[in-house]
Point group: C2
């Protein structure tokens, strides 16, 4: 038996076998091994952060990662940018009948390794199998629980003011572009790798450097432009970006140009953008650059005095454009 069958999702003997022989092998921890309808975890001493995300990426294995690694990093990052220490995640699979057990094992192993790296425990899980053609190989939902302790840093979005600096942790557009080059119908021979990574340790370094980080976000779907535009809308403050300061790899730039895409709107899975007071921006930048995941961090713009609540970009040619919220969808299932 080298494929997933419907009986693996029936809740019977085969489901139990899958849980015991595969999931417990890579997700082993005291909480999961309670084997109850709910897992009981200890008191959490602080405010609790919660986030959920489903991953439907295609292809499921890609340069720089796989759907398993992505599903852990994505949720860890949503917790960490909110100032929370990630503690626990749940993992729920929807698997297509006929999926290779060897591929499932690769993914489960990848989830286990990434969770271990990020120091989160997988505390609950679920497996559903759907008939052939009712899903595309495998979809994964992860829900994350983190803690914000009493004296922990918490973002202070309301403090955002003119002169605050916008910092991005590295080159943008890598993830989305990488995934696109690996879609069957593109057949592009490219070395662009997804930036898929857990940002929690980078964020610890940043918070240790300054308590004046006013907001952090991970620019996934919709890319850097959408993420900043959302901040502009919610804070009612205008911002301006300097195009020449935004790190974009040549490969990414070229591929996007070829397709008429703007890398500012392309998904990232291992980058963050933050807004920091002018005075402490160099300190934060320095801390970021010392971490491998922030070595290409750059100040890319600032909050300006403008009543229109717009996101502007000063292009390399010297013109100033307004960036809007993305609409439409070039390519689905990028994450």
């Amino acid at each position: 038996m080298d494929q997933i069958t419907l009986s693996h999702g029936s809740g019977g003997e085969e489901t139990n076998k899958l849980i015991e022989e595969l999931f417990y092998k890579y997700f082993n921890n005291d909480i999961l091994l309670q084997k109850n309808d709910s897992s009981i975890i200890d008191k959490i001493n602080g405010k609790i952060a919660v986030t959920t995300d489903s991953f439907v990426i295609n292809p499921i294995f890609f340069k720089g990662g796989d759907i398993g690694k992505l599903s852990v990093c994505g949720t860890i990052n949503d917790l960490a940018v909110s100032g929370a220490t990630p503690l626990y995640i749940t993992v729920a699979f929807i698997i297509e009948e006929g999926f290779l057990l060897s591929d499932l094992e690769k993914i489960v192993k990848s989830i286990g390794n990434t969770a271990k790296y990020a120091k989160v425990k997988i505390v609950a899980g679920d497996t559903k199998v759907v008939d052939r053609g009712k899903c595309d190989k495998i979809y994964i939902n992860t829900t994350g629980i983190g803690v914000i302790k009493d004296n922990d840093y918490e973002p202070k979005v309301i403090d955002i003011k003119q002169g605050d600096k916008i910092i991005v942790s590295g080159s943008i557009g890598d993830h989305g572009t990488s995934i696109m080059t690996q879609r069957e119908f593109f057949e592009v021979d490219s070395e662009i790798k997804s930036d898929c990574a857990c940002l929690n340790y980078l964020i610890i370094d940043m918070i240790n450097a300054s308590k004046n980080i006013k907001i952090m976000r991970d620019p996934t779907r919709g890319g850097l432009a959408n993420t900043l535009k959302e901040i502009v809308i919610s804070t009612n403050k205008s911002m301006i970006l300097n195009e020449e300061d935004i790190p974009i790899k040549d490969d990414v730039k070229n591929f996007c140009e070829m397709l008429g895409l703007d890398p500012l709107y392309v998904a990232n899975e291992g980058k963050l953008v933050c807004i920091v007071s002018q005075e402490e921006s160099d300190k934060v930048l320095e801390a970021m650059r010392k971490n491998k995941l922030g070595k290409d961090a750059s100040i890319i713009g600032e909050v300006i005095n403008d009543i229109n609540a717009n996101l502007y970009i000063k292009t390399t040619l010297g013109a100033t454009k307004i960036l809007q919220m993305a609409h439409g969808e070039l390519l689905p299932r990028i994450c």
Copy 2:
């Protein structure tokens, strides 16, 4: 625009519109409206229970419920049978391109109403859209967070001993049978309704009646037999059921007979089975029967002295059979 398009899952303008106009309309609460990558909830004063479940049921609307109601009840029940008070849930959608927005609204409304009834807040969400043919209409993941306070009841599985009574809260097999009769290829004209319901208030009544409930479980996939067999395996205690005491509706019995199915293995979504000390079993039974969801509760068997760790059933004909863990799968996507 009356259908879901890929752009609804892009993270851009259309996603935001869906969130603002549909999700916030029915899921409105202070925590969700933080609109952050993670939602920050207050300290939880007690141990925390966590569970996750994906729902891939077909059909998505059925007699007695829909995928929305089911996805809330299922997770609420997993928390409640563990002795936890359900507090928060997350809701993540995977939607097929072309899905009717009116159907989505029905489901979202149903989720909102069920959550309100069960007094849980929807604290985080996610929406992914996959291309046509890459999912079957809609799949939903819910993850639940509950609390077990210091003086709350907690199941004491290790105390299970000979003479303890097995109580089921009502007729079994309703959900699975109902779903089967509503599958296109059966074309059976039946009035069997799913028992889909949130059991948290029934469980409060039970716990108030007795602190000697040793385990509670909701017999979903795999049905009553599988759930009890799992308890037999994990406790190493044998049990015997009396077939004539197990409440099964005539319609359910007839339909199952026609298909050669055993209702003991058919899924329930609004029933629980518990093991209670002999002395307090009548008290618990009485409390259950006073609640609408437990009005047909019955003592169906007991824990016996037998070293083989088997689940037995005494049939109406007087014979004693061993019930095994289910294997294989008659019909997928029953929940």
